[in-house]
């Protein structure tokens, strides 16, 4: 078998030859990338153990937006729910995520297409995304939010915007977005009303004026030129920088962009944290990292690398029921996956609108397959569980708070991960890319 032309590459070429167009799908990069699995945490050993720190529960409280906002966001967890578009997922799914965030003590995030009253009611803490499409943006919703996130990019496709297929643009979604129903929508890459880097500072100031300087302003970046973008966001006055790595999901995007653009989350978090430190704003500007966060171990490692919190998207959807073989009525939906050309556990068909478990759909019949109460409970359980895992790991490393995790607590299993995360290769003091010397081997 050819390594250059293995069967799946041949199949892709044949598909392009047949259809004359490129592939589109949901979710993030599926290729093997250096990630948090390539890092290990070093528990406190006899020489470093601090008895005081190990008494009592490990704290997980997280505060975001302490720089300029009157009311920073105070969360019980270092994990938030990432933004998902109204239109991309069903109203029931949005409601369930909002409710789960409230149950677990964290924040949910709106997404492209605006805020629904149901999700505002459901989520005690709600972050309002201001996306480049501006679909459904309502200043009253902005003011009703607990934070505003200006989206400049998304990890799955850091340059261009995402796609919303016509199947999902049902009349109620189209009405909210102010577009005709049934058309395929391509979200623009840039905000319509500012023309480049200098404009961001004025834009942030505008949001502050419109919200009376009450709520924090987050700036979300798709991980690409992370140091430059974080510098811009900080200089422009962001309270919180959200960096979304290339494993971050999308409701619909071009496969070539998903797989071949951006930076892995592992590299992105380290660069972002270093940039904040170089700018002298660590602790003043918080860093939220997203893109392929799945477990409490991922959470702990991201925090150790310098994140103040992480955001979960795809993992939250999986907790909600995505890729499950049965829906909330108990029915086996394997055949519906098959009809989409996929199977439970392997589905990335969010862009089709035919989600077998009623999450990534606007079809009322399909949407009824998700019970928002049950879904919320599952997601809340998941959030609590991964937070407990992260706390366990932090305590094992001798810390009284998950936010005390630091880069010293990490080693890498591969040279690539060591270079990206700037932590020593396990069993050595060697950090690839750093000059020899203390810490550099």
């Amino acid at each position: 078998m050819s390594h250059t032309f293995p069967p799946h590459v041949i199949a892709e070429i044949q598909e392009r030859a047949r259809l004359g167009r490129y592939g589109v799908r949901g979710r993030g990069a599926a290729r093997r990338l250096p990630g948090f699995d390539d890092l290990l945490l070093l528990p406190a050993a006899a020489a470093t153990r601090d008895g005081a720190a190990r008494r009592g529960p490990c704290r997980t409280e997280t505060v975001l937006g302490t720089r300029y906002a009157r009311n920073p966001v105070v969360l019980e967890l270092p994990v938030t729910l990432a933004g998902m578009a109204y239109g991309s997922i069903s109203p029931g799914a949005k409601e369930a995520l909002g409710r789960a965030a409230t149950m677990a003590g964290t924040a949910a995030t709106t997404g492209d297409g605006g805020m629904t009253p149901q999700e505002r009611d459901a989520a005690k803490t709600l972050v309002y995304q201001l996306t480049p499409s501006r679909h459904g943006v309502d200043p009253d919703d902005l003011r009703a939010a607990d934070a505003v996130e200006i989206v400049l990019g998304q990890g799955a496709h850091p340059g261009p915007g995402g796609l919303l297929p016509g199947e999902k643009l049902r009349p109620r979604v189209a009405r909210r977005r102010g577009v005709p129903p049934g058309v395929d929508l391509r979200a623009p890459a840039d905000h319509p009303d500012w023309a480049g880097p200098d404009g961001l500072a004025v834009k942030i100031a505008e949001i502050r004026e419109a919200t009376f300087w009450r709520v924090p302003v987050f700036v979300k970046l798709g991980a690409a030129r992370v140091a430059e973008d974080v510098t811009l966001a900080v200089t422009a006055g962001a309270d919180v920088v959200v960096v979304d790595g290339m494993q971050g999901g999308t409701g619909g995007g071009e496969e070539v962009l998903i797989e071949h653009t951006g930076l892995p989350t592992l590299a992105a978090v380290r660069i972002a944290a270093d940039t904040l430190a170089e700018l002298g704003v660590r602790g003043e500007v918080q860093l939220v990292v997203s893109g392929g966060i799945r477990t409490g171990a991922d959470v702990a490692k991201a925090l150790a690398l310098g994140a103040d919190a992480v955001s979960v998207g795809v993992a939250a959807l999986i907790a909600l029921g995505c890729n499950s073989s049965s829906d909330d009525t108990g029915a086996d939906v394997t055949a519906d996956y098959r009809a989409l050309g996929t199977a439970p556990g392997a589905c990335t068909a969010c862009h089709t609108g035919g989600c077998p478990v009623g999450i990534a759909t606007q079809d009322d019949v399909l949407a009824d397959r998700l019970d928002p109460d049950l879904g919320a409970e599952r997601v809340a359980n998941y959030l609590r569980a991964i937070t407990a895992e992260a706390a366990l790991l932090a305590a094992a490393c001798g810390h009284a708070s998950v936010h005390d995790l630091r880069r010293d607590d990490l080693v890498a299993l591969t040279v690539e991960a060591a270079a990206m995360a700037r932590v020593p290769l396990a069993g050595t003091t060697w950090i690839p890319g750093l000059p020899s010397g203390p810490g550099g081997g």
Binding site: L19, G20, R21, Y22, V24, S133, R134, V137, D138, P139, D140, L142, R143, L163, P165, G166, G178, V179, P180, G182, V183, D184, L185, R186, A187, P188, P192, D193, W194, A195, G199, V202, K203, A205, E206, E209, A210, T211, F212, W213, G252, H351
Partner: protein, 240 residues
Amino acid sequence: MAEVTLDADRLGIRGLNAALHAVPAGAHVRVLNPRGRHNLAVGLRERIAVDFAGPCGHYLGGLGACAEITVWGPVGRGVGENLMSGGIRVRGDAGGGAAAAARGGTIVVAGDCGSVAGIGLAGGTLAIAGNAGPYCGRAARSGVILVCGDADVGLGDALGDAVIYVGGRIAGLGDGALAAEPDENDLTAAKLIAATCGFDHVDPENLTKVTSVRYRPRLLSGRRAAGRPPVPGRLSAASA
């Protein structure tokens, strides 16, 4: 009607906006010394009248509703961005992105507009007495844009359901835009807008109407929405 005078030099941007938000409905506010400051009168929600006695900076009156704002001078970028209702009259030129993503209300510019005027317009009206810069009406989803003077290149690029009327020359249409004969409804609409805005220098009978070629791109499946003509061009050319 309560008359209020506020001094932007004394209050600063934040203080001035707080004062404007505190003014009761029905009041008339005169703002002295705006001096090109950005983000003035942002997010207003009451039926008040505000007169700025000089130039204002970016995002004048953005994210607002209900208020009637007049600027006696030019404004910067994004005047009336995401406006929901009410009106803004600019007695001068406007920078780029005037009325960007506005969902309602009327924005009247007595002079010229910079690039991408009316970009992403989603229901409001933008009336320009002078000329419009490049890519006016880009991706405008609904609402009306009236350009009494000339329109630069890229007019109506990726236009949605918004309609653009142009009194002068059009340097070039954007992707998916089509120049068409105005019908009776267009004439009525244009007359109304011109009259409301006090534009007596434009002849509504002699306007060019620019609209979308009315195709509905089907980016993903190659199929088309019912009743629409086929998609010209290839997938990558389409835009929302």
